[in-house]
């Protein structure tokens, strides 16, 4: 069985959390808390730690990776049924992410390119990655993080060198508890994307320290959303930030380097593509892997071809335009994420609390390991 390092797990989780954090969370925080979004970003560390502790506890108490652990806690039939629902959820997440991204590109960058061409290109790339296996997905994640993370901070740094108004942060930390709570909840919901750790932790070459990778992700996540929220508030002020669809993207458009280079948004999107591709590839991998485990199939990579058709059709049908997508994003998607990526793990965590301790089974004994390559 191929083992992935905890650094690779960090990179995979960072890709799952990072791009969405960067683009969407500052807007959500601005809408809910106006100029106190930075406070919500900082406070997210508390639920973040709790979420990671919860995942870590489930990992330590379970003998098998997700989705087999569902059978461990819910019985064979219940576990398989829920795993089947998860396959649909993962495919929905992939389709939705793809749809949002493609619409974003068509709206902002390449209006003349047909949607189908973009969807086809991205799906082809993701399909190629999945066919190459988890080992290569993990290695590719490292490359994406090496490029993407410094670039993301670089953007914030460059944005911070533009015209800023410190007064935009005033009054400092004046926000209702309800709104602050909602903002923290919203920012924390993104951390539900750490859910695949329940599968990949099992392939770690050093499982006892796998939670550290998640804590590092949390640290970077907090820094990212904090800095992005502060910068957008400083540049646009609280009201304008709530009106812009993607405040970070708008900040990016303001950046001028040496009064010569401007309109760097396409570079941003270019790098962001890498993150998005990583996200949708990994959730797609999760869908294929879960299907394989449900039906005890020999491999998962052959499932990439038929599921690609489902993803393509769903992502085309799901959105007539980006406005509808945003509505879906703010309503259905939050619920889906919260229920499947946080609530069900909470239930599993509660079940794990009452489960007697068992020695950790050798990873090579499990069904899940045999077909990972």
């Amino acid at each position: 069985m191929y083992r992935i390092s905890n650094f690779q797990i960090f990179c995979i989780l960072m890709i799952l959390v990072g791009p969405i954090a960067y683009l969407e969370v500052p807007k959500r925080l601005a809408v809910l808390t106006f100029n106190s979004g930075w406070l919500a970003a900082l406070l997210t560390i508390i639920p973040g730690i709790l979420i990671i502790m919860m995942f870590n506890y489930i990992i330590r108490k379970s003998q098998n990776p997700f989705p087999l652990l569902l059978e461990e806690y819910l019985g064979k039939i219940g576990g398989k049924l829920l795993a089947g629902i998860y396959v649909i959820v993962f495919l929905f997440i992939v389709s939705f992410t793809l749809s949002v991204f493609v619409n974003f590109i068509i709206t902002n960058v390449l209006p003349d390119i047909p949607v189908s061409v973009l969807i086809g290109s991205f799906l082809f790339l993701s399909y190629f990655i999945i066919k190459n296996g988890l080992e290569n997905l993990a290695r590719l994640s490292e490359l994406i993080v090496f490029i993407g993370l410094p670039f993301s901070f670089g953007i914030v740094f460059l944005a911070a060198s533009q015209t800023l108004d410190v007064k935009n942060l005033l009054p400092l930390a004046r926000v209702s508890i309800n709104h602050l709570g909602l903002a923290v909840f919203s920012a924390s919901a993104v951390l539900g994307r750490l859910f695949p750790i329940l599968t990949i932790a099992y392939f770690s070459n050093y499982r006892p320290k796998v939670a550290n990778a998640a804590y590092w992700v949390l640290g970077f996540y907090i820094i990212l959303i904090f800095s992005a929220t502060v910068v957008t508030t400083l540049v646009y002020g609280s009201v304008a930030s709530t009106l812009l669809t993607f405040p970070v993207f708008s900040v990016l458009r303001l950046i001028k380097i040496g009064e010569f280079l401007s309109n760097l948004d396409i570079f941003f999107i270019g790098i962001w593509i890498a993150g998005i591709i990583g996200t949708l590839t990994f959730f797609w991998f999760m869908a294929c892997f879960t299907t394989q485990q449900i039906f005890n199939l020999k491999g998962y990579s052959f499932l990439a071809a038929p599921t690609s058709l489902i993803i393509a059709v769903v992502s085309l049908l799901i959105s007539p335009n980006i406005v509808v997508l945003n509505i879906i994003n703010e309503t259905l998607v939050v619920l889906v994420y919260f229920f499947f990526l946080i609530m069900i793990p909470i239930i599993l965590f509660i079940l794990a609390l009452f489960k007697p301790d068992q020695p950790i089974k050798s990873s090579s004994d499990s069904k899940g390991s045999s077909a990972i390559m």
Partner: protein, 525 residues
Amino acid sequence: MRYIKGQKTNDSQPIPLDELVEQNLSSDLQENLASLDRLLEGCSDVVIKEFEFAKEPTIKAGLLYFDGLVQRSAIENHILKPLMLEIEKISPEFLSIYEAQDMLNSVQNRILSTVDLDTINTFDEVCHHISSGDTVLIIDGYTPALVADTRMWETRAMETPENEIVIFGPKEGFTETLRINTGALRRRIKSTNFKIEPFVIGKITKTDVVLCYINNIAPEGLVNEVRKRLNNIDIDAVLDTGYLKEFISDNTSTMFSEIEHTEKPDRVCGHLLEGRVCIMVDGSPMAIITPISFPQYLISSEDYYTHYVPASLFRILRAGALFISLLLPSIYVALITFHHEMIPTSLYLTILATRQGVPFPPFLEALMLEATFEMLREAGIRLPRAVGPAVSIVGALIIGDAAVRAGLVSTPMVVVVAFTGIASFVMPAYNAGIIIRISRFGFLFAGAILGFLGIMVALGLFLTRMVSLTSLGQPYMAPIAPFNRAQMTDILIRRPWFKSEKRPYVEGMDNQIRQNPPDKDDGGL
């Protein structure tokens, strides 16, 4: 079939040559020479000399070699002269009392004065040895035959390799003679742990191949795997190390080179000292080194001979040149075609002005210029040395200038393609440069179709392929992916020698210690 099988074999029918070659030599000289006559029929360069030596009784013998491969003076002075003249100093009784095997021993150990002397039993061995420049002595009434190393042929002197020019460090390069090449390595690594294992590959060519490694540094598993792969090769001919490359590689369906070529002995030694193995073939000045990872292509051997600060800066420069070489034309085409808002207005207006009247879209323009550039480069390599540079200059200056004047291409595009061309020469490894050159066209297409998005998708495919490759089981993108912090100090940054306490890790390596850390109390001057 049964009828054929049941046929009686005709005893007078000569044995087929492929069976004859496998047979052992007989003790009858004439019979042996007759068989060799048949095997070597049509080989006008073979010399078979029959002669007699000793007295009462005289002993008949035959000497075989290929003219042009041997040092005749060595045959005359160390084989014929001792046998025909100096043997008389030994008493006849002495010779006659010896039994068959002892007679051979006497000739081998007391009479012939060549250094490298061995015995062989089959016609196949006779043919192989004489083809390699050895001289075979067959003595009537005795087996096996004796073989003496008398190799000597015209060879090229060790010169500076044209493909790996360096400013600092050793300048000499390998030649086409295997022994000279192994000698060049042995001169640098004076250790008994430095092993040079021989192989003979090629059913027809019987080419000498050697596998070089340092015993206590190269992982045993790696050496065994390479040995196994070499032993499994069943090709009829090996004329260059390039033949072996595809047999040794993990992935045969990729254009990415998983094996490094070099003509420089110091570079080979550097790799051997880092636990890798080297394969050399007689007749080729190129050594191949494996396992190798792509980031190592950024390293030049002279990085280790210069101060680590400029060496590190040059590596960063090469990494930049790699990206320019790979992506610059596609980025330019994407900018001009899709994302012109990114270009500062004044610059864009300048570019637009130069493009006025150009009948082709930027993509076609770039494609034509790139293709022309590659043709010129190939022509420059293939043409005679006196003409090559002239053609390149004519191509680059005159054709380029004429194309711009004729309005077929724009000046910025010529600049972009020329700059890309220059950047592609910055890569120290020629075979890595080939991949970049070919891939550049793919990125050009992607950039022309989908702009930056296309480039990113193509880059994704490119990187996915790269991370999925292995070289003898070692990840091709190591130490970047999978990330290894310790080894990263010798990729973009050259670690100072005094801090290089460990060798770069090769899977399975036990002996990673390069030097003990310097004693901290030493420096109290």
